[in-house]
């Protein structure tokens, strides 16, 4: 766009070579100068503003990184603010040890992958059902799906706790085995929730997928139907391949949010020490280790200095979120464009 305007300017100048910028400006009653001034300063203003805001958002990460490579001397040196004088990887070794990093990483990857694949598979089916079939009470059920977005699971915490501590869905287990099950702190409990589209923010995925399916043309399905393809096969072979981008987007959201989730992890995955729990427990873990080490006869005080605790937590958070940051770096398009793709309309 700017290029074309420059060209027209060049043409204008070469046609009347004698006129300077200010003469041309006068000929337009000052409009030319006003326009260029606005453009240049608007541009500078935008650049400065966006740069500042981007820095604001990234600053905690940079700060955490700087903190994580500081040695003890740097942490207690008031003249060291941002850049450490004696950078060290010692905090990383400590955090990896305290978090049982590699074990947690493997367990978290496995569980998060399984749970999010299951959730998205179920949500896709449900969303397709909402998008393409007419059945009685459809609006009611869809309103229920929207309700799951608005009601945070925290509200139902006590009831969910009871339901899973004494798991007895519709009285089936008491009938068959005579007693209810305790599904708290078991992966099965969370798999049950995931398989019934009630996991973390599943209502949102149903909504996004449904919007996407609704905007797809109906003709393909109809011709498949006429050719004798049943509904499930139509869905799997014709609709699903076209919906791959939004399914990937939803999967990535599910993965990333599951990775940092505390609510369901705290309820079902305590025994697995997944990464989110390891990250949130790291501070206390370090403090207790420090106290034990101090009781071993060192001249250290019993509680660690806060700067040290913060440096360890920063390190733990950095290595804990490293996988999802990597995913985001490579698949950022799927995250940012997903909502636009699904065509939000109220």
């Amino acid at each position: 766009m700017t290029k074309r305007e420059q060209n027209t300017d060049v043409v204008a100048v070469s046609a009347t070579p004698k006129r300077t910028y200010w003469e041309r400006n006068n000929a337009t009653d000052g409009y030319l100068f006003k326009r260029d001034f606005g453009r240049i300063f608007g541009g500078i203003f935008t650049v400065v503003l966006l740069f500042g805001l981007c820095f604001l958002i990234l600053q905690p990460l940079l700060h955490q990184f700087a903190n994580s490579i500081m040695s003890r001397d740097d942490l207690f040196d008031p003249t060291v603010i941002t850049l450490p004088r004696y950078p060290t990887w010692v905090n990383y070794n400590l955090a990896v040890y305290l978090m049982d990093y590699w074990g947690s990483l493997l367990r978290s990857l496995g569980i998060t992958l399984a749970v999010s694949v299951l959730q998205i598979a179920v949500c896709t089916l449900v969303a397709y059902g909402f998008a393409r079939f007419d059945f009685p009470f459809k609006r009611f059920w869809f309103a229920c799906a929207m309700l799951t977005i608005i009601v945070p699971p925290h509200i139902l915490r006590a009831a969910l706790f009871l339901n899973f501590a004494f798991f007895d869905i519709f009285g089936i287990f008491t009938l068959t085995t005579g007693d209810s099950l305790n599904l708290l702190n078991t992966l099965q409990g969370y798999l049950v929730l995931s398989a019934t589209a009630m996991g973390l923010r599943n209502g949102l995925y149903i909504f996004m997928l449904r919007q996407y399916f609704r905007n797809m043309p109906k003709e393909l399905e109809e011709s498949a139907w006429v050719d004798g393809c049943n509904k499930l096969r139509t869905f799997a072979q014709i609709m699903l391949p076209d919906a791959v981008p939004i399914v990937i987007s939803c999967f990535l959201f599910a993965f990333v949010w599951q990775w940092t989730d505390s609510f369901y992890s705290g309820m079902f995955l305590r025994g697995f020490n997944v990464m989110s729990l390891q990250m949130s427990g790291l501070g206390d873990m370090f403090i207790s280790h420090y106290v034990v080490a101090a009781q071993g006869g060192d001249a250290l005080s019993l509680t660690p200095p806060t700067a040290l605790v913060q440096a360890i937590i920063s390190t733990g958070v950095l290595i804990g979120i490293a996988p999802i940051v990597l995913i985001y770096l490579f698949a950022q398009r799927f995250f940012v464009e997903s909502i636009g793709q699904s065509g939000i309309k109220m």
Partner: protein, 303 residues
């Protein structure tokens, strides 16, 4: 047996597709919701040894305790609502502003957009407030908050000057509010990840021909914004308000959420925890309903 019509078969297939959700909703949303309401009016005792629990109906006891007896709840609750009211409006203004900037073409737009979306991922779940989430730092975090509230440094000086110069009389409250917002800019940016994308999606549906026509008629960018952009994205404001309110109330480090967590998971006072949760949810739902009603009256629908 009569053969099913096409419509009937369609209905059955449709129900089969959404069956997982129907089961899940009934078992893990509708029933727990009902139970939560019941527990809010009961005293609940959990007996793990005998694998059983019992509820005794106590009427409004829990509600009364939350509202009038408990020293923390009403204060935390009101503070939470005020914080929400203070945050939602700036989030809308900020995210619309950023969305308009990001909707223009400039080099590096993709990178900037990715950075603004980053909080959606990095400010979720356990990562919120993780720095102070341990026994040692929880104690000193109050002191840190107090110190930063004193606002040393350049912003503090500017703030003092502004309040002194223009603060006499009417403007003081307003200036305080604006300055409060500026201090909160980080929280606002953190809450704006999804709203920006929602507004961007809305902006991209506006046909460029409308802008072309109005520019030919001599409209400036400012006029274009208020006469075209704003009305066209106004339906998105409703979406963003709902999103921002729900997102705010389900933060894990919210005061009320922490109270629920402590009562359910540590003290195991399920009845009181449920009562808090119900009061919180009902009030938020009311606020959402009222806001939704007002905003849906004001927005402009193009088609």
């Amino acid at each position: 047996m009569k053969r099913l019509t096409m419509r009937g078969r369609n209905a059955i297939t449709g129900y089969l597709f959404i069956l997982p959700f129907v089961i899940g909703f009934l078992a893990f949303m509708a029933y727990p919701l009902f139970q939560t309401i019941r527990m809010a009016f009961s005293n609940v005792r959990v007996d793990f040894a005998n694998n059983a629990f019992d509820m005794t109906w106590t009427g409004l006891d829990n509600i009364n305790r939350a509202l009038w007896v408990d020293p923390n709840f009403s204060q935390n609750f009101v503070e939470e609502l005020i914080a929400m009211a203070m945050l939602v409006l700036p989030v809308i203004v900020f995210s619309l502003f950023i969305a308009v900037l990001l909707n223009r073409k400039f080099p590096g737009r993709g990178v900037v957009r990715a950075i603004f979306f980053l909080p959606v991922i990095l400010a979720s779940g356990v990562l919120v407030g993780i720095e102070t989430n341990n026994s040692l730092l929880a104690m000193v975090s109050d002191q840190i908050a107090e110190q930063s509230a004193m606002r040393a440094g350049v912003t503090g000086v500017v703030e003092g000057l502004l309040v002194e110069q223009f603060g006499a009389g009417v403007g003081e409250g307003f200036i305080e509010y604006v300055l409060e917002m500026i201090n909160q800019i980080y929280a606002i940016a953190m809450a704006s990840g999804i709203p920006i994308v929602i507004f961007l999606a809305g902006l991209q549906t506006i046909s460029p021909s409308i802008y072309e026509a109005s520019s030919i008629e001599g409209a400036t960018g400012w006029e274009n914004f208020w006469k075209i952009t704003f009305p066209m994205v106004s339906p998105m404001i409703l979406v963003v308000v709902v999103y921002a309110v729900v997102d705010f109330m389900s933060r894990t480090d919210g005061e009320v959420m922490e109270m629920i967590d402590v009562n359910v998971n540590r003290i195991r006072d399920l009845g009181f925890g449920s009562a808090i949760a119900m009061i919180y949810f009902v009030v938020i739902a009311l606020i959402l309903g009222i806001l939704g009603f007002i905003i849906s009256r004001l927005v402009y629908y193009y088609d």
